[in-house]
Symmetry: C2
């Protein structure tokens, strides 16, 4: 089945203790789309400027990603420059130029309307809700958000959360959203707002999915997936979107959504996130094979499973 991702396409300049790259193709829709492309047909809705050319287009095309929904606007593409220190969970933003992204109003092409799976990347919650309403036949809706929206746009965000099936955020964001310092209690509060499932990401410690009672016809027991203990996290940029791409991509590749499928989706999310951070930008995501992905899936199993 197919997935539609709505989010950003950007150019990123990234520095970390492992090196520096300039104007790499990035953005939430890009990371998500590349990660998901190994599992399902991906369509994206985003906006780019005049500096987005054939070289960038080719990246999406090579992965079979449908970019008919990629809007071209006069001006420059969203640009971000950031630096990571020794803690990969903390990015120091040096430059943010929203450019054409500033006035992004996602328009869903008619030929995308029947897409079964929808991922609402980290954009203004009012726009997320608007997209969700344009896609009211979607079978499963995943979504992301961040501190900026949680703190400054709480009311529209709470409304949007009623329209999302699976919210994928990190621990800090979940606690901030729920105004609660215990993660399991925060999860219960977030689920009471609307989502059927909350995926919280713990950085190098993996991720946990919490379920609302009765959601997906399964019990509410949480499930925890690992990530790989990597000697070197070269570039954490896009780890969350790559996780979401693996998670949603795997769900879209399956006939039904049940507890076992959701558990495996958590593993595939972790797998794609772990690949993403091994190299700068999207580089590692560009050259994978499904075989390599499944090999890492088995390493994750070996890392956590008793005989």
């Amino acid at each position: 089945m197919s997935i539609l991702a709505v989010g950003s396409v950007a150019f990123d300049t990234i520095q970390s203790p492992s090196g520096k790259v300039e104007r790499e193709l990035g953005g939430s829709a890009t990371y998500f789309g590349l990660a998901a492309s190994y599992f399902a047909e991906v369509r994206i809705v985003a906006v780019v400027g005049d500096d987005f050319g054939p070289a960038q287009e080719a990246v999406f095309q090579k992965h079979g990603i449908d970019i008919r929904g990629l809007e071209r606007a006069p001006g420059k593409t969203f640009f971000w420059e950031g630096e990571y220190g020794s803690n990969p969970n903390e990015a120091k933003t040096k430059v943010t130029e929203l450019n054409v992204f500033q006035n992004f109003q996602p328009k869903i092409p008619a030929e995308y309307r029947d897409t079964e799976f929808l991922f609402l990347g980290n954009i203004d919650p009012t726009l997320q809700a608007d997209v969700r309403r344009q896609m009211n036949g979607a079978r499963l809706v995943g979504g992301d958000t961040m501190n900026y929206w949680i703190n400054g746009f709480r009311e529209p965000l709470l409304q949007t959360l009623k329209l999302i099936d699976v919210l994928l955020i990190n621990d800090t964001e979940a606690k901030m959203l729920a105004r609660e310092s215990s993660l399991p209690r925060a999860a219960q509060k977030v689920l009471a707002i609307g989502p059927k499932a909350l995926v919280t990401k713990h950085g190098e410690y993996g991720s946990t999915v919490f379920f609302r009672e009765g959601a997906f016809g399964i019990g509410r027991h949480p499930f925890r997936a690992p990530t790989l203990p990597l000697d070197e996290v070269r570039d954490p940029t896009g780890a969350g979107d790559s996780f979401a791409g693996g998670f949603m991509g795997y769900l879209a590749s399956q006939g039904e959504i049940n507890r076992e499928v959701l558990k495996r989706a958590m593993f595939y999310g972790g797998v794609m996130g772990s690949f993403a951070v091994e190299a700068f930008g999207t580089r590692r995501l560009l050259s994978l094979t499904r075989e390599q992905i499944d090999e890492r899936f088995e390493i994750f199993r070996e890392l956590t499973h008793l005989e």
Copy 2:
């Protein structure tokens, strides 16, 4: 098989957002011993003062813990008072009265010398090394340490680490010991110092064991065990020693040490740690059954295992 634990017995006054208790029986040897007592015969070597009476003795006796090695010294027992805020990983020490513990010189009774498993609780590394030499027939030696020794007593600690098979510490301690910000790299450096295995504990995210190449006749692939996402951590005191007690206790209960046994020991460590923090002091550890322990083991499996 039997385990000898050398460490502290103490009285603790503990405050957390969940309440307050005064002069609860605590200390590393107490938590370790109680947790391990569900798996194996436990012997302890520690020192107590005049205020340690029949009520405290009865706690050990009820769990079949051999306290012939418990030295009585004139004066008061080690006393600690601490407070936890909303972050259970950070204790604020309000009072530390070492009392009789100040001059503790562990003496191993002759009848303890044949104990197969030895746990060196968090005491002066020079004393740990001294105990280790008195117990040179031990089959497996586990050990703990803390920031205080890592920062202030580095050289004797590095010597002691050569005498320990499994070091059990938390992430921050491992990074500090290795002077390395990446946990997997820190683990490799710690293993190069001496231990065959390093168990690093990640608080609410569980724990990871890293193996030295060839140690225990198994490969060096790490293994990660979870802990339970608890709505409320009432009192984190003793979580690490309870983990160590479950881990070492399970090892001692098995005929051989292989990869599968070590993996299960990680699970049992997490199980005992998760029980410990559910109630103040050692209270939860006092009233368990092996059946409850194995039920929680299965919950841990359910939390992490694919079908």
